[in-house]
């Protein structure tokens, strides 16, 4: 293991313990990792960060013995936790640990199955009932049916064949199939996901399972099944609730698949649902649409203060997305007088700053030209004498009829 990851994980565990002490009301969460054909050293701390960011969870990362290590030493006390997140695809656990996990779920424990965790334990019957669908690990018709959508119809397909494949990584549209589930309520019907593996041909017991969202595996990227493959699932097992996301293939730093606001949000909402059966979190304002991927490189929801601060140093060639965020924010205020007035003041502040680039000022003037009030007029009038900004200032004043 690379040193920096070890350090990161140790820090994460310490911080996790610390925050547990601090916040008694958050749900204690255990992230299990340590063996995976994926970069678990990158993904597990990110999963922790994403969950803890909500303030609802305090997560700890537990690392199993290495491959072919002594699994008898892996004996988590599941009963201490409200949520177990599996970022694990490796050796079988001991029978004792398996039984403890089954008891935990049966008694109402929450579980998140993340990406390749649905590859794990092909022979463990109870586990496969919890994941609903899985792939690889010699899964075939004996594992259960393929389940997918075809022409908008849910298909349970018992035909023979191996389970699990994916084409080349690409961005893809995720479609919400059940819109009134607590996890998906308020999400757009279609949104573009950051570059990821599109898990396909998953098969399994599929008992007590709902497919919340799918993605069409076209053949353009290779390996396409031409089916709408399950991306987000919920499963109940005993009294326990399981949220299964097939997305989030980890690169260094998470990469677009984990940085995607769609991945982050559905994970956060799915985790809460797994614990309580409800979701109290608001859909974030930067949730993507089908028009473009929205990433959070630091896994934190970007605030309007940050957006406005970014706009100050705006360089159109680098990115226009901070302006997209600003416009999105204006739309989301939907005429809320106080909100728009506060935002106008912040925009005027950036507009007045000497540090703000000309390009940024031009774009701010365009927005103020319609959503501005008397408040912005004196500052805009001053800009009329600026050679670079004269046209935009006149445009804004004419539109505001000032």
């Amino acid at each position: 293991m690379k040193k920096q990851y070890l350090l990161l994980i140790i820090t994460a565990v310490i911080l996790g313990l610390f925050s547990t002490c601090k916040n008694e009301t958050s749900y204690k969460t255990l992230i299990i990792t340590g063996q995976n054909n994926h970069n678990w050293q990158a993904s597990s701390p990110i999963l922790k960060q994403i969950l803890d960011e909500t303030g609802l969870f305090s997560s700890e990362i537990m690392i199993t013995p290495k491959t072919r290590g002594d699994m008898k030493t892996f004996n988590p006390d599941f009963s201490k936790y409200r949520l177990v997140v599996l970022d694990y695809n490796g050796d079988s656990w001991s029978e004792k640990t398996n039984n403890a996990f089954v008891d935990y779920v049966k008694n109402g424990g929450g579980v998140v199955i993340y990406h390749a965790a649905d590859n794990s334990f092909p022979a463990w019957k109870e586990y496969n009932e919890m994941t609903g669908l899985g792939g690889w690990g010699d899964r075939n018709q004996k594992s259960g049916p393929y389940v997918y959508y075809k022409n908008d119809q849910l298909v349970t397909d018992t035909s023979a064949g191996t389970g699990g494949t994916h084409g080349k990584r690409r961005e893809f549209i995720v479609r919400t199939r059940i819109t009134d589930h607590p996890i998906t309520k308020g999400l757009p019907s279609r949104w573009l996901h950051g570059t990821d593996e599109l898990y396909s041909l998953l098969r399994g017991p599929a008992k007590n399972m709902q497919i919340l969202a799918t993605a069409f595996a076209d053949s353009a990227a290779g390996g396409g099944t031409m089916r709408d493959e399950p991306m987000l699932m919920t499963i109940t097992y005993g009294k326990g609730r399981i949220f299964h996301t097939t997305m989030g293939h980890a690169d260094e730093g998470g990469g677009p698949s984990m940085q995607c606001v769609g991945f982050i949000t559905t994970l956060q909402r799915g985790a809460e649902w797994a614990v309580t059966g409800n979701v109290t979190q608001k859909v974030p304002w930067d949730f993507p649409s089908a028009a473009g991927v929205v990433l959070r490189p630091d896994f934190k929801e970007i605030t309007m203060d940050q957006v406005l601060s970014n706009i100050g140093g705006y360089d159109i060639v680098k990115s226009t997305k901070n302006f997209t965020y600003l416009q999105q924010k204006i739309r989301s205020l939907a005429g809320d007088e106080q909100g728009l007035s506060d935002l106008e003041k912040s925009m005027v502040k950036v507009l007045s700053s000497k540090r703000t680039t000309v390009e940024a000022k031009k774009l701010l003037l365009r927005e103020l030209s319609w959503m501005g009030s008397d408040y912005c007029v004196p500052v805009i009038k001053e800009l009329e004498s600026n050679v670079d900004l004269k046209d935009e200032a006149e445009f804004a004043l004419a539109r505001l009829k000032k």
Binding site: V317, S319, I330, S332
Partner: protein
């Protein structure tokens, strides 16, 4: 004024004569045949063209196909490549080298003594050039959407009416059988009382990021291409791709409003009014200079209770086209001669003698020429075009503000919303000014 429009007056007078006494063509003396295409001066319509990109050239070719009395004499464009190409087409048709070329529409309109002009420009130029042509008394074949903003539209409608010119909008679907038939079935109650209309328009374009600033091609007058729009450096986006930038267009939504929304209005008797309430949401690109909505979905409510949903086609079961839903069924029309209904019996219905028979035209360009001669209104008049694009522009405002917009279709004003009202215009960059309404 009389000295510069004698030929036009001649056409007007002879048209009045035709309308009054049904003069047969052979009465015109054969000695009066013109040059090249051998047109009698009494029948001749002198026409020019402004904007000769893809749509302008397409219109030019459609006009040249007519066996009519058109004589193309001049073209105007800000791209000399377009000019060269159009001049060659016209000179070939006229069998001479006489087609004159202009880079500035003001000079073009001033020097050429035109009876008619065919105009196909980016939307941000429509307000100025349509009203300038109308104010010169020239009959206009103008591309849809007829305006970029509601304010531009009002000016254009006013100029056309004031000058009493013949106006034809490039809403050519009106001149196709299936659209007229669908609209006629709808307006005559064959689907019952119309309750709800669905209009499916194309899905939007995905972004291209932000290309670097690059040298303006020597053929292109970039300053003139921008005209009244805010100045931006050239990034290789001008012809065709202006459609994806809000400064010049509202995207597929406004491009297609003049087709399927126009047809929807035709069949529902909404051609001379507008909605009273508009609400909806768009999906906008996250990054890059293309910023028109790539998905859109909004609902317009009318005073008479009809609702019209305008939406990108991917979200509709029937996809593209117009569907009138009444209390007895539905009729759907789309390109490719498509006309379908909830019950095939509806499609077999005969429209009785005393029922509404919609304006019939079998060739959109011929209809314009015929109307220039007859002085009768063309099939796609200006106010009707303005009402069609208004729906898309109000939808754009609802999506931009995130608000439900209240609209007074008579006064043509947004009610009780200053911010949204600001979006009814796009002020012009100096030295350009739009004539007041």
């Amino acid at each position: 004024m009389a000295n510069k429009s004698s030929r036009r007056d001649f056409v007007k007078k002879s048209a009045a004569l035709v309308a009054g006494t049904f003069v047969l063509p052979q009465i015109i003396p054969s000695t009066a045949f013109g040059m090249g295409r051998r047109i009698a001066p009494s029948d001749r319509i002198v026409i020019g063209s402004i904007g000769l990109g893809s749509q302008g050239t397409s219109n030019l070719n459609d006009f040249l196909k007519l066996k009519g009395p058109l004589q193309f004499v001049a073209v105007c464009d800000v791209d000399s490549k377009h000019l060269g190409n159009a001049k060659e087409i016209i000179d070939t048709a006229n069998k001479n080298k006489d087609c004159r070329i202009y880079g500035d529409y003001r000079e073009f309109l001033e020097k050429e003594k035109l009876d008619a002009v065919s105009i196909a420009l980016p939307d941000h130029w429509h307000g100025l050039i349509y009203s300038a042509a109308a104010n010169k008394g020239i009959n206009v074949y103008g591309e849809k959407p007829i305006c970029r903003t509601i304010n531009d539209g009002k000016v254009i409608v006013n100029a056309v009416k004031k000058n009493n010119i013949i106006w034809q909008t490039g809403s050519w679907q009106r001149s196709l059988f299936n659209f007229r038939r669908g609209a006629e079935l709808a307006i005559n109650g064959r689907v019952g009382k119309i309750k709800y209309i669905e209009v499916g328009l194309p899905d939007g374009n995905r972004g291209i990021g932000t290309p670097p600033v690059m040298p303006v091609p020597p053929d292109l007058n970039w300053e003139m291409w921008l005209g009244p729009a805010l100045k931006v450096p050239y990034r290789g986006v001008s012809h065709w791709d202006w459609r994806w930038i809000l400064d010049y267009s509202g995207g597929q939504l406004t491009d297609w409003a003049g087709h399927h929304i126009d047809i929807a209005n035709w069949g529902a008797g909404l051609e001379h009014t507008g909605p009273v309430e508009i609400a909806g949401a768009g999906v906008y690109p996250v990054d890059g200079i293309f910023n028109v909505p790539v998905e859109y979905d909004f609902l317009c409510k009318y005073a008479n209770g009809i609702e019209m949903r305008v939406v990108n086609a991917a979200r509709l079961p029937l996809g593209m086209g117009t569907t009138w839903h009444g209390d007895l069924g539905w009729v759907h029309v789309d390109r490719g001669d498509i006309i379908t209904a909830s019950d095939p019996k509806i499609l077999a219905e005969v429209i009785g003698e005393n029922e509404i028979h919609l304006y019939k035209s079998d060739n959109h360009w011929q209809n314009f020429v015929d109307c220039v001669k007859s002085k009768k209104p063309a099939i796609a008049p200006v106010e009707v075009a303005y009402r069609a694009i208004s729906i898309a522009l109000l939808g754009e405002i609802a999506m931009t503000t995130g608000q439900t917009i209240k609209w007074d279709p008579d006064k043509q004003e947004i009610i009780g919303n200053n911010r949204a009202s600001h979006l009814l215009s796009r002020p012009y960059r100096q030295p350009w000014t739009l004539p007041t309404v």
